[in-house]
């Protein structure tokens, strides 16, 4: 019985982590932390959209800017779709100079902030799981 409960807990942590990755703030929403979820969703999505507005979708470049792309994809798996779109015709979407830099800073920092939120949501879920067992 205890084993099953532990397996359920691990499954729950994985679900929280995946949800928090797919939609920023969804992990916290699942844990009934609605205020945090709304703040996280609004801030991360706005930061990401501002980055795209400044630099265009060309800043998501899985071919020539892999390190930035790794941070950007932490926003949501949807970034992979945008990356696929830009990598199909790189010359059409190529961005240079300051807009490229600033756009990459915004989108990558939004991704790293979402990584922080994913870890925080999984940790909160873990703490609640251990408290419930006691």
């Amino acid at each position: 019985m205890a084993q099953r409960s532990e397996a359920n807990n691990v499954f729950f942590l994985i679900i929280v982590g995946i949800l928090a990755w797919i939609v920023p703030g969804a992990g916290h929403y699942m844990l009934k932390e609605k205020k945090r979820a709304i703040i996280i969703f609004t801030t991360i999505v706005l930061t990401f959209i501002i980055g795209l507005y400044i630099g265009s979708i060309g800043i998501i470049n899985p071919v020539d800017a892999k390190a930035w792309y790794l941070a950007q994809i932490m926003n949501s798996p949807m970034v992979a779709a945008l990356g696929h779109l830009t990598s199909m015709d790189p010359e059409k979407y190529r961005v240079f100079g300051r807009p490229n830099e600033i756009g990459q800073y915004y989108t990558s920092i939004a991704g790293l902030l979402n990584l922080l939120c994913i870890i925080n949501a999984v940790y909160l879920a873990h703490l609640r799981g251990t408290k419930a067992e006691v």
């Binding site: 703040i39 059409k92 920092i109």
Partner: protein, 83 residues
């Protein structure tokens, strides 16, 4: 919703026209607010509007002041080396 967001974002195909002058770095200032908001949203045990805004203002202010101190120190160092 993700599909709707994707279709909106896929329309951003032309970058903004931003120069390479020092003023263009001011575009990065709102990032300090984003970092402070998300960090405080994960760290505060209980979120109330007043205390949250106060904490965010203190943290983003501290980040900006620290950046200014570092910039002045680096500027001074560069000045000492080149003069």
């Amino acid at each position: 919703m993700p599909l709707m967001l994707f279709s909106i974002m896929a329309n951003f195909i032309a970058p903004e026209n931003i120069g390479t002058d020092p003023k263009s770095m001011l575009w990065l200032l709102p990032l300090t607010a984003a970092i402070a908001i998300v960090y405080k949203a994960t760290k505060m045990p209980k979120i109330t509007a007043g205390s949250f805004i106060k904490e965010v203002a203190i943290l983003s202010g501290s980040i900006i002041i620290f950046i200014i101190i570092i910039a002045l120190a680096l500027f001074g160092l560069a000045w000492m080396i080149t003069e």
